[in-house]
Point group: C3
């Protein structure tokens, strides 16, 4: 498993897509974003355009683990992104810890080549509101667990990879 971390508009998704394409396998895009407003719709359309053709897309705002189950080894999967998924869980007032356990178990069990994109959100000033602080902590814990389990971890800054674990 490969974890691709990065800030907002850091080029992390584009870098991850390029990485997945190099694997030379049939590609599956596991999308967790939901077009709930115009801003998100525009973002999703821009991402889809940037990604290009050649992807089978699975939309799963709440259960990316389900999309991983049963996939054969000769698939390259991009989960984009863990942050949207976590945000969807919290907006739906679902428990995050069991969901994260399930996602990590599905990643460990999958024979496919899986790349997970996630946001770095903890390097700014402490947010004013308590929900944002809770989200920041949950995202940090999720990233730590994903990174511990990953074979490769890349931190993307301005489109450039900084390898934190493994070899790319």
């Amino acid at each position: 498993m490969t974890l691709v971390l990065g800030g907002a508009a850091s080029g992390k998704s584009a870098w991850a897509e390029g990485h997945v394409k190099t694997l030379g396998l049939p590609m599956i895009y596991v999308a967790t974003a939901q077009a709930l407003d115009d801003e998100m719709s525009t973002k999703i359309a821009a991402h889809r355009k940037g990604r290009g053709a050649g992807w089978e897309t699975v939309e799963t705002p709440l259960d990316p683990a389900a999309a991983l189950r049963g996939l054969p080894a000769d698939r390259a999967v991009l989960v984009d992104c863990a942050t949207m998924w976590l945000s969807n869980l919290m907006l739906n007032e679902m428990e995050t810890e069991p969901a994260v356990d399930g996602f990590l178990a599905a990643l460990a069990a999958s024979p496919a080549q899986v790349t997970v994109v996630s946001n770095e959100v903890g390097q700014g000033i402490v947010p004013d509101n308590a929900l944002a602080r809770r989200f920041r902590d949950a995202q940090g814990r999720l990233n730590i667990r994903l990174a511990a389990q990953a074979d490769r971890v890349v931190h993307v800054v301005a489109g450039l990879p900084n390898v934190l674990k493994g070899e790319i």
Copy 2:
């Protein structure tokens, strides 16, 4: 071209100034900040003091590309910073994309040794207000384009350089 990225108060400007000084060429400081209030005036004065003597200064809040045109190869130029410039464009409700195209073209065309300072602003929590989110996205895209064109990219953290591209 060298791109120096970093957070607020990360020491990125001081590092960039030190880098420019090592080039041993007549130095030009292209300043994009404007002293619109006391907080900015104090910041600008502190930066000027830290920078020391030996710089020719060009103030250009909206058009750093103009300051680059016509400069000979034996000049070391520091553009500080792309973030202030982008912010000035947006505050003046100017289109950012054509301006960025023009700046990148001027950088590519210049025979001078140019170093550009820019902020990393995307590693905190999602901002509440839409303008801040738009700025964050525009800044991220600008950094990606600058980094793609740069020969060297350095991410400064606590005054220390983390080289992301090229050799320093």
Copy 3:
């Protein structure tokens, strides 16, 4: 002296604790956090549980320098964290510059093996309120000074160390 930087919930404290344990010396935990509300109490309890047994704890919200004075060379000290301390100084409207001078002098004078944890807070969008901006600048300057004096600087992202200075 070792400086461990990282965002919120980045795993910086856990990494720093692991580093201190490898030194094989009696361990002293210099705590600057105060349980002023339930959120902080919960955080402190979780950190204490994660840290495990084997630490002598010194609580000092305002003067970590005092905790360093007089310690012998065969002690491994963890100051966690410089950010809470700086925040406590500012909340108590105390001057930060002389306090930082004193802390850096105590670090330089101590024969003990000292590790300092500090937050990276400058890589998000510019905060709305002036106090947050002042804090961000003070934190940045403190990190730069700590990093300049440190023998080793590590930036922790998702629990993984990115070495910026020295060898780990």
